[in-house]
């Protein structure tokens, strides 16, 4: 240890005893004594932490510390604080009609923010994080609505679902024209040609002409004479550019063959009424929201609650 220690000739200072390359020595420049004390104080400080805060694991738990501090409890408290901060908005949202909330800047912003979070947790699984939808799952950003796109209609759809089993749910069924042998494969092909011609896609004109009569006999009852659809029955508009199950000849034939009918849960059975309202406003704000029909009056607060 002290073998290499010697007095440096130039400075008169002792070396530390560490030698490199045989002749490079390190001068011993000792630290001030108080520096050592700060080190001891740091150790004492750490011991203080052990006493005050949770620190050591035990066989079936851990030392709690005299403050009994827990980050989990802290988070719970923070969440409670946030909730009580939100209470005034939630009370107003519960009492006001959707149209009135839409006109109240503060409440509308609050609803969009909260609705966005709810959407991510509950809806994004099917409709996608950006509500962009997919095959069989409607894009909620566009202006095409199966069951109506004003505030009250969106609310109705979210609250009670589609083919969800809820008594208030949207319910309709498209016949399985192929499976049930109502139409044969050639008729299905003709009908598909006609349906696609409604939105100006390239079709076999001859087949489409033959399909027109089949359409009038079998489809117009729900989709309308012009194929414009019927939102009361969830029958899609067949003349626009939006195709829930795809616009190819094969996709349209498949729809006619087996029928279509997606399902959505009744969210009033899972979420509280305020959450459903916030979700409604969020979906409405995505860009496709439609103005209220002039005749439709805003529903009273009670009407929004699940039965």
């Amino acid at each position: 240890m002290s073998q290499g220690k010697k007095i440096d000739e130039v400075t008169g200072v002792e070396t530390t005893g560490h030698v490199w390359d045989g002749d490079i020595y390190e001068l011993n420049k000792p630290l001030p004594r108080w520096w050592l004390y700060t080190f001891y104080i740091s150790i004492l400080w750490a011991i203080g932490y052990w006493i005050v805060y949770p620190a050591w694991p035990t066989i079936n738990g851990y030392t709690k510390g005299v403050l009994n501090y827990s980050q989990r409890d802290q988070v719970k408290q923070d969440i409670e604080a946030w909730k009580s901060g939100h209470a005034k908005y939630r009370t107003q949202i519960a009492q006001m009609s959707l149209a009135d909330i839409r006109k109240n800047d503060e409440l509308f912003q609050f609803s969009i923010a909260g609705g966005g979070a709810l959407f991510g947790e509950n809806c994004a699984g099917c409709h996608g994080r950006g509500a962009q939808g997919g095959i069989g799952y409607p894009n909620l950003n566009d202006d095409d609505w199966l069951w109506g796109g004003d505030l009250d209609k969106i609310h109705q759809t979210i609250a009670f679902g589609i083919r969800s089993g809820n008594p208030n749910a949207h319910d309709s069924a498209m016949p399985r024209f192929g499976t049930d042998k109502v139409l044969d494969e050639a008729q299905i092909r003709d009908t598909a040609n006609f349906v696609r011609s409604l939105s100006h896609l390239d079709v076999d004109q001859e087949a489409a002409k033959r399909g027109a009569q089949i359409f009038a006999d079998n489809c117009a009852a729900c989709h309308g004479d012009q194929g414009k659809g019927n939102q009361d029955m969830g029958a899609p508009n067949l003349t626009d550019a939006i195709w829930l199950y795809g616009s190819s000849q094969e996709a349209v034939m498949q729809s006619i063959r087996t029928g279509r009918g997606g399902a959505m849960p009744a969210w009033s059975e899972r979420l509280d009424p305020v959450a459903v309202k916030m979700l409604t406003l969020f979906v409405y704000s995505l860009g496709g929201g439609q103005a209220e029909a002039a005749s439709a009056s805003a529903p009273a607060a009670g009407a929004d609650k699940p039965k």
């Binding site: 000792p30 894009n139 950003n141 095409d144 860009g287």
Partner: protein, 492 residues
Amino acid sequence: MNTMDRPNKFLIGGGDEGRPTPPPRQSDYVPRTKIYPKRARGTFRGIKWIVMAVTLAIYYVVPWLRWNRGEGLPDQAILFDFANQRLLFGPIEIWAQEFYYVTGLLVLGALALFLVTSVAGRMWCGYACPQTVWTDLMIAIERFWQGDRNAQLRLDSQPWSFEKIWKKSITHLSWLAIAVATGGALVFYFGDAPTLAIELVHGTAPTVAYFFLGLFTLTTYLLGGLAREQVCIYMCPWPRIQGAMVDRDSLLISYRELRGEPRGAHKTGTTWEGRGDCIDCKACVAVCPMGIDIRNGSQLECIQCALCVDACNEIMDRVGRPRELIAYTTIGNLSNATSSPREGWRIIRPRTILYTVMITLVASLMGWSLLNRADFEFSVIQDRNPFFVVLSDGGLRNGYMIKIANKFEGVRHFKLRFKGPADLQPKFVEFDGTDPTIEVNPSEVRAVKVFLLLPGAQRKELRSDAEPVTIELQDVESGQTASRATIFRSPS
């Protein structure tokens, strides 16, 4: 094995022929030697008093300066408004995202430090560093209660008595009073000073204010009152860096050895022939707040406060020799006994030119950027999920989040214009109509969601799947405009 073969730690070098005797073991830690700096008188001490008065005045007065910003906004000229994430400097309001201005100030500060150091050494350390200023103040107070160096030495060697207890207590109490005033003034920079002052006295100020007041009371007392030179020697990185900052042309306080040596006591009336001017009176050592002997040459501990220059000049006057045996001089002149201390001193040299150019560059860049800084800002973020939405008529829609920040002291109104391919139709979520007036409150950021719609019939006018779009924001009152480029996406 007999006992003589065993190493004996009590016998140092005993019986070990041919090896040098190892020195007695030196401690790994050194005790602190208390320094009793004697009061100096002279030019530099005078300058130091003035610098202390000015810097302390700036520190204590600045938070009380007012600046009218209008209704509902703080009227403190300089306010570090952490709660609202902004710094207020008179008419300039710097938001958190513009923190680069503060970075710029720090860069400027560092460059100025480099420049000063390369011209005249550790001027900052010697005169303006808060550690020096407060230590100087604490030393002055100590001297006021306990007397100068000799009286303090005497007092410390005395056994404890009423006089000693009283003098020591009153000194520490005075230090604490200054420390409280220091911590107290600091918190005023972070809140409205007049309000906070009343709250502090009544005990109703925020806990964080008391915490920082306490913290800075403690650090001022510890660092300025107790630790003093230990801070400069052991804690501060600057003494280590300065070696790279000075060169042969930097003015450094040095003992001019060629003139001073050989030193020795001098009897009045005897000749000065064949000896140096240094009479070894140790006046320079007595006044040194760092407790070093400047005659040992340039040292890490030396903060270049010039008090030894004053002390030596006083002695030289008394013995009738020329002043400046210890002086601001260059390394070049130290090796020449006959030259005057600052002979051939070059201020203008590549190093100083470089620092000056850099300072000018950074300062003008910051100045230009501050002058051309809009007092509103806006940003456009295009929706990424989904990129575009196909509408029922085959048209397309893109969504944009526009954020408008109003840094102006008053409500402002804005209009948006959109230029892009074909007839893009804006549609707002929160506003009716296609051309709403957007109101933004002072010191607020407002997010506005806007959709741009392209009718299906015009899809063929799109040339690419990412057409350029310009969004222009106009301040209705002032007519100021700003624009941002973005794109309109479509299926490829």
